[in-house]
């Protein structure tokens, strides 16, 4: 590693956090030698990446499958209008900004959907993983991947004015599966009920501080509770840590189910500009029509399906049996993104 404190300008660049006693010179040296992986470069991911790169974490790997859109700019702090106009992949736009902020750290981008087949390479050589994802399917995959590879995983989630974060450390704390069974977001995503920018900044900052404590080795200071809050109504709650479950399929039984299953959602092409995604439980059509009403340009419901015209010039068709058709794109990654946005996985 060439990234050390003896490098020119480093003492000056990091002087304020070196002055902060719990980090100090030793902590800064550790940060410079550390590697983190941030999965998801949306609202949480961009704040996380900014913190890691500015703090001098020597190697920051960023993973995302999506590209920049206008509706991202309200809260995704590394992107600008030009990035949206060019529809740049988020990892590319983010890397450009991050390298302008700190050219001495290694920012490595992976423009891909995280899956059971690429998770091992995404986590290779990584000391800690930061969760910037927007769906539970990828979170459970990360949880299982991190526990199998013995890597701490810092969970964060935000929607509406509510946020939550916790650090999960293999062998020391329960994992995400110990706390909640595999579930989906029940239709509550940032694209259905919205999200406000201050929530995201705070969640990601809570994640970042636990990451920095871990990387500098201040285990005593590590928060073990699950911290959740509602910023609009100013409520904060700390759930004290519960013991890991002996029957947990991940950290108890060490089965890591998400690493072995094929993706729960199956995508198939259905003619021109139409992609079918199956694997969801049956839809209550009226309930979903109500949920999606606010975000749709128009909605048509009949006893068999709901047709939702979205603002992005695409249509979602939800069938009672749980199938979803995404119309208006030939790109599976795009279809999956829209699915996660409006249906949630």
């Amino acid at each position: 590693m060439t990234n050390t404190l003896t490098q020119e300008g480093h003492r000056e660049r990091y002087s304020r956090q070196i002055l902060f006693q719990p980090i100090g010179t030793e902590g800064q040296k550790k940060l410079l030698q550390s590697a983190v992986c941030i999965v998801g470069m949306g609202a949480l991911g961009t704040v996380l990446a900014s913190h890691m790169v500015r703090a001098g974490v020597g190697h920051v790997r960023i993973v995302d499958r999506d590209y920049v859109e206008m509706s991202n700019l309200q809260r995704q702090m590394l992107y600008d209008e030009q990035d949206a106009a060019e529809s740049l992949p988020k990892v590319i736009a983010a890397k450009r900004k991050l390298q302008k902020i700190n050219s001495s750290v290694f920012v490595e981008e992976l423009f891909a959907d995280l899956t059971p087949s690429n998770i091992d390479s995404a986590l290779e050589g990584i000391d800690l993983v930061l969760d910037g994802t927007d769906n539970f399917q990828t979170r459970f995959l990360l949880n299982d991947g991190c526990y199998r590879a013995n890597i701490p995983f810092v969970y964060g989630g935000a929607v509406s004015s509510r946020g939550i974060s916790a650090i999960f450390v293999p062998g020391k704390t329960p994992c995400l599966r110990c706390l909640v069974p595999e579930a989906d977001s029940g239709g509550e995503t940032c694209d259905t009920v919205g999200v406000i920018s201050p929530v995201v900044d705070i969640v990601a900052s809570y994640q970042a501080i636990e990451a920095i404590k871990w990387l500098v080795g201040d285990i005593e200071a590590q928060r073990t509770s699950v911290l959740s809050f509602d910023l609009w109504h100013h409520r904060i709650h700390e759930l004290k840590q519960t013991p890991a479950r002996v029957d947990c399929p991940c950290c108890g039984l060490k089965l890591y189910p998400a690493l072995h299953q094929d993706e729960k959602l199956v995508l198939s092409l259905c003619g021109r500009e139409s992609i079918q995604i199956s694997g969801h439980a049956p839809f209550d059509l009226q309930e979903w029509a109500n949920k999606l009403e606010a975000t749709a340009k128009s909605i048509k419901v009949n006893p068999y399906l709901i047709r939702i015209e979205l603002l992005e010039h695409v249509r979602l068709v939800l069938f009672e049996d749980g199938r979803v058709l995404v119309q208006g794109t030939d790109d599976p990654a795009r279809a999956r993104t829209l699915y996660d946005r409006y249906i949630g996985s």
Partner: protein
Amino acid sequence: MVELIINGTVRQLDAATLTEVVEQLGLNNRPIIAEINGEVVLSEHWQQTEVADGMKIEFVHFVGGG
């Protein structure tokens, strides 16, 4: 009817068990943890957990956005 303090708000519900509270709030199958008076109640015990006037129930939502 039972009067409960749910996430800081007083609510009157027609529920006898924690499972019924979860159902009435539309939280079935959501990623949540329930706490009663500061103690976690695992989901497998919700059915047997009776609720009574004045109980402080906190549902911690594991939100998925990001």
